[in-house]
């Protein structure tokens, strides 16, 4: 009896030990994002004085040599490239998912899914490389220097497309099959069922996925850096070059000192806050629409 009790106690001790170790590691995982946020904030702090903050968003002049750190132009660069990419990727991506699930013959659907899965794993530098040697020269023939908002939007759109499509597909997959059958029983056509029943039922998932992919596009660095020309300016047309906030960090990080370096941390902090905001929006959408959907 004593021996059993002893073994029981030993097992309890082991349990306790393992449990603490697991929770400790989980704590580490949970705190990483906090550390990153706090670290960026501390490094940014010297330039984050009350009056300076609006300047980052309103001033478009980024001339670190002359002590000017306005980020409005780069913010516009990031937003214009992201907007163009989503404008391309969102409708085509949703259409691709609808096609795979409801229209394509099985062989085509599975080919399409494989292709999109393959594309979703291709490194962003490879997209950038292809954009640089194929798209940029093509666009240069149309107008401007080639490296442009358009090149960035196309490359990024192509990169985000499979992600939008696969996440839409998995949202559609969660709609109960009975919905489809009910639609058919009502004598609705295929498109009517898709548009009026299936897509609305999956709307929260589709929309939330879209918001998260927007965050992905916003944060993409390499593909954008390679094809947008990186001139800090407000673009007057899609054929003009721009610099994204992400590219700016990659381009100047190793060369920056003093306030210039601090300003790069500010731009990192802005990116972090924007993507965190999108995560929050996605979470709210998922909760809201589920409640009413």
């Amino acid at each position: 009896m004593a021996m059993i009790l002893q073994r029981f106690r030993a097992a309890r001790a082991k349990d306790l030990f393992v449990q603490s170790a697991v929770l400790l590691f989980a704590g580490v995982a949970a705190i990483i994002v906090v550390i990153i946020g706090v670290y960026l904030f501390l490094e940014s702090a010297p330039l984050l004085t009350g009056t300076g903050i609006p300047g980052f968003f309103l001033d478009r002049r980024w001339y670190p040599l002359e002590g000017e750190f306005g980020m409005a132009a780069m913010l516009a660069g990031t937003l214009s490239v992201t907007a163009l990419a989503m404008l391309l990727a969102a409708p085509v991506g949703i259409a691709a998912a609808v096609f795979m699930r409801y229209y394509a013959p099985p062989a085509f659907a599975s080919f399409y899914r494989r292709l999109l899965e393959l594309l979703s794993g291709i490194p962003s530098v490879v997209f950038g490389f292809w954009g640089l040697i194929v798209l940029v020269p093509l666009i240069a023939k149309l107008d401007g220097p080639g490296a442009s908002v358009l090149a960035g939007g196309l490359v990024l759109g192509l990169m985000i497309l499979p992600l939008v499509s696969l996440s839409t597909d998995s949202s559609l997959a969660q709609v109960p099959r009975s919905h489809w059958l009910a639609g058919t029983a009502l004598g609705l056509g295929r498109w009517a069922i898709v548009r009026k029943v299936m897509i609305p039922s999956a709307a929260s998932g589709i929309l939330a996925g879209m918001v998260l992919q927007t965050g992905r596009a916003l944060g993409e660095t390499m593909a954008v850096l390679m094809v947008t020309g990186n001139v800090v300016q407000l673009p007057a047309s899609v054929f003009e070059p721009v610099r994204a906030l992400t590219s700016n960090i990659a381009l100047e990080m190793a060369y920056a000192t003093g306030d210039h370096r601090t300003a790069l941390f500010v731009s990192g902090l802005i990116l972090l806050v924007m993507t965190a905001g999108l995560v929050a929006v996605a979470a709210v959408i998922q909760r809201r629409l589920k409640r009413y959907g």
Partner: protein, 224 residues
């Protein structure tokens, strides 16, 4: 003796050496008088900076004021310089690079006055961009461009102020836009640093300097 080398631009080299984060900093430019209050520069080689265009560009020479006009956007088409009817693609460097600072200084420009079509990071990227665009103009380290051009890359160096852009002319001091490549130490370098400096400024490294397409210093003038 162990030496770890970190990357970064001249401003970083000056900054790190001033703060004592490193024993020896590196800067590819001369120091300002303020910087010299805390640092002593030790020149180990020379380099020149010159404009480059695509090999197919018919122009063989640009005056300083023409180059200035191109970079400020006053001249935007090659035809007004006697070239083909094509928009000039202006390649500028990203902030923090001393090539940019020297270029701006020489032409008495501020970066905010420049209207660029492409902004690049490294010399090599500048050469690749110009090689890929027949209407582009950029400015890079002469040694690097000479090496690339001799390897068949379709770029051509342009003379400045009538002086051909070549490492030979940088060596003779005739080329107007040249820069020293400096090692930086505190005003009283440690013994180990001094031994390294002596070595880096001796004839033993001439081959290494030439191997990187820079111009060796005049070793007979070095005091030990």
């Amino acid at each position: 003796m162990e030496i770890d080398v970190q990357t970064g631009g001249s401003s970083r080299g000056v900054n790190d050496a001033t703060k004592g984060l490193v024993d020896i900093g590196m800067a590819s430019r001369a120091l300002t008088p303020e910087e010299q209050e805390n640092l002593s520069p030790h020149t180990i080689a020379w380099d020149g900076i010159a404009p480059i265009v695509h090999r197919d560009n018919p122009l063989t020479e640009l005056s300083d004021s023409q180059i200035r006009g191109i970079y400020t956007g006053e001249i935007s088409n090659w035809s007004s310089l006697g070239g083909p009817d094509a928009e000039i693609v202006v390649v500028n460097k990203a902030e923090g690079r001393s090539t940019l600072e020297l270029f701006l200084h020489y032409f008495d420009l501020k970066n905010s006055e420049i209207s660029a079509d492409v902004v690049i990071g490294d010399n090599q990227q500048g050469i690749k961009t110009v090689a890929g665009n027949p209407h582009a103009i950029g400015y890079v380290s002469i040694g690097t461009a000479e090496f690339e051009a001799s390897n068949g890359t379709p770029v051509r160096l342009l003379p400045m102020g009538g002086v051909e852009a070549s490492t030979a002319n940088v060596r003779s001091g005739r080329f107007p836009l040249s820069r020293p490549l400096n090692l930086l130490t505190g005003l009283e370098p440690s013994q180990a640093s001094q031994r390294f400096l002596d070595y880096a400024r001796s004839e033993h490294v001439a081959d290494l300097v030439k191997g990187q397409f820079f111009v060796p210093i005049d070793y007979s003038s070095v005091e030990h």
